[in-house]
């Protein structure tokens, strides 16, 4: 039944031409010293190529290295072995190639909503004394209009623009954080459990909004979540990570790499479909199994999945 669902999804997938690789991880491993336990491996032998415009969702149990993977792409951490490239260049530090939306503390508390959103483009345009030039003021006016348009696009009202982050709800703050990242037009947008702390209705509305924005602007998105339905609703590709086992050293902890073409239905309706429910059940089972099974079984399952998709 699952393979039928997968085939159905594959049937409606657009036949797109090969796209440029935006993110590439080659044999990436991350280990660190963990006191008396010795070396602890978080990610092992990870190989991943993400094409421009993909919406990749990384799913997995706690401690499987989802956030570590995101931090590696971001340049906040570096792999113990292997190489990472974003936009064709090696990642050596955090820079503006990646937009970033964390779960919390995503906004600068000392700036208003507009101030937060305009911070990045203002930095990019000019520095320090150059901001006193008349041309900068003209640019600022234009930027303000663009920032307002992005904020309205993300569901904010005009009266919210001059509020400080503490005057906004958690959902509103995340909307601003997404607009803040998008206004920089980064080739890659990274979201680290960005909706995890939100209530279900706000979460659903933000999911819709994020999907609409992605469909319209088509940035490459890497979205970390531990919510399986969210992963299947939003992503075009699902990466399932399992926790690495020390007795299986040298094997990858990537359990599943699966394409999910986006449905044309609104997310809430998409969720009701039989195909979605079957797929959800299957991924949940696989995620559950990956938390207890050994890596060999996980790889075997992945091969089966890839066979189903092919």
């Amino acid at each position: 039944m699952v393979s039928a669902a997968l085939r159905l999804i594959e049937d409606i997938a657009p036949n797109s031409a090969p796209r440029r690789t935006e993110i590439e991880l080659r044999d990436v491993s991350v280990s660190y010293r963990a006191g008396k336990e010795g070396q602890k491996t978080v990610l092992s032998k990870l190989n991943l190529k993400v094409a421009a415009g993909e919406f990749v969702v990384i799913l997995g149990e706690t401690g499987c290295g989802k956030s570590t993977l995101l931090r590696l792409i971001l340049g906040q951490e570096f792999p113990t072995a292997g190489a990472i490239e974003v936009d064709g260049k090696p990642v050596t530090a955090i820079d503006a190639r990646c937009g970033y939306v964390p779960q919390k503390y995503s906004l600068f508390p000392d700036r208003t909503v507009l101030g937060n959103v305009m911070y990045g483009p203002e930095n990019a345009k000019s520095r320090f004394l150059a901001r006193l030039r008349p041309s900068f003021f003209a640019y600022r006016r234009k930027l303000r209009a663009e920032a307002q348009a992005y904020l309205v696009r993300m569901g904010l009202r005009p009266q919210d623009m001059d509020k400080y982050p503490h005057q906004l709800s958690g959902g509103m703050q995340q909307r601003v954080a997404i607009a803040q990242a998008l206004l920089m037009h980064p080739p890659v947008l990274l979201l680290d459990e960005a909706f995890s702390a939100l209530d279900p209705s706000t979460r659903a509305s933000l999911q819709e909004q994020l999907r609409d924005v992605w469909l319209e602007l088509k940035p490459t998105v890497v979205f970390v979540t531990h919510n399986t339905s969210e992963a299947l609703l939003l992503g075009t590709r699902l990466i399932l990570l399992g926790r690495h086992r020390e007795d299986r050293a040298g094997e990858t902890n990537l359990v599943l790499d699966m394409q999910i073409p986006p449905s044309k239905l609104p997310l809430s309706m998409q969720m009701q479909t039989r195909e979605f429910q079957d797929l959800l059940e299957h991924v949940k089972q696989l995620a559950y199994k990956s938390s207890s099974m050994n890596t060999e079984d996980a790889i075997a399952d992945r091969i089966v999945e890839e066979g189903n998709l092919a």
Binding site: L74, K104, Y105, D110, Y119, A124
Partner: protein, 290 residues
């Protein structure tokens, strides 16, 4: 609807006192202090009408008048026809306040770089590695024990007293700035770099701007230690200043001058604290103290 007051409420945690109650309660200790003082003053004056240990209200008023309108003993007397403004500007308390305030404000200005060093220690790992161990050690040195060295290095003029204040408070402020700046969530710093910030942007436009209200609060909490070091310096080697006057008056048992001076110093510090608190609120409307 507001509930009526019950005695049991005094020990309750989940009670909400009415505004009238909170205001009245906050003044009780002041009133009790004044009443106690008046009681002991009356008792002592009944035994000895010339008692100077606990001056009476009349003695205190005379002492205040002398401080505010008459020059210090060591200064030339004023013309009898001098205006009230001239009297005040040549008075003992004015002269002493200006001297102490000058030292205090110079020390306060010199503490700004100390706070910036603390910020750099938190933001730039190499600066942290360079300064932290030394500052932690220096913080444990009792500043007053350095006074003889300061007198030798800077002489007994202004700078030894100012440096005593700076050396006494700077390590604490540095460590405070270090801890506060280190508390800025890592996500904010990462985010700033993804928004094309430079290192200096992150240090000054992200971290400093966010921690400034807490740094001002830290200065507020250190006003009293700063005054303490000022007083120590002035009492040991000075020819003017509020603490110098108190030390001189102690020799003459001049409690009628000492008490108004003490209250004046407390009032000055209270006003400076209120000014900083007000400035903080006006400059940082976004700040949400815990």
């Amino acid at each position: 609807m507001a509930q009526s007051f019950r005695i049991a409420d005094l020990t309750g945690i989940q009670v909400r006192p009415a505004r009238l109650w909170t205001h009245s309660l906050s003044w009780i200790l002041f009133v009790a202090g004044i009443a106690l003082y008046a009681h002991f003053s009356i008792v002592r004056h009944r035994e000895n009408p010339e008692d100077r240990v606990i001056p009476s209200a009349t003695q205190l008023v005379q002492g205040m008048k002398a401080s505010v309108l008459e020059p210090a003993e060591e200064d030339d007397p004023l013309d009898p026809g001098a205006s009230l403004v001239q009297q005040v500007r040549h008075s003992m308390i004015w002269k002493d306040t200006v001297s102490s305030a000058r030292r205090f404000l110079i020390a306060l200005l010199l503490l700004v770089p100390a706070m910036l060093i603390g910020l750099h220690m938190a933001v730039f790992p190499y600066a942290g590695a360079f300064f932290l161990r030394f500052v932690l050690f220096f913080d444990k040195i009792v500043a007053l024990s350095l006074l003889p060295i300061l007198f030798i290095v800077f002489g007994i003029d202004e700078w030894s007293k100012i440096m005593l204040m700076v050396i006494g408070v700077a390590p604490t402020l540095m460590l405070d700035a270090y801890n506060i700046s280190g508390g800025v969530p890592r996500e904010q710093i990462v985010k700033a770099f993804t928004l094309k910030s430079t290192n200096l942007d992150v240090a000054y436009r992200v971290v400093l701007k966010q921690v400034l209200p807490q740094l001002i609060n830290s200065v507020r909490l250190n006003l009293k230690p700063l005054a303490l070091f000022l007083f120590a310096g002035e009492m040991i080697a000075s020819t003017d200043g509020l603490a110098y006057r108190i030390a001189i008056m102690r020799r003459h048992m001049g409690m009628d001058i000492i008490i108004p001076y003490l209250l004046w110093v407390a009032l000055l510090l209270f006003m400076l604290d209120a000014l900083l608190r007000f400035t903080n609120r006006r400059l940082h409307p976004w700040y949400q103290p815990l």
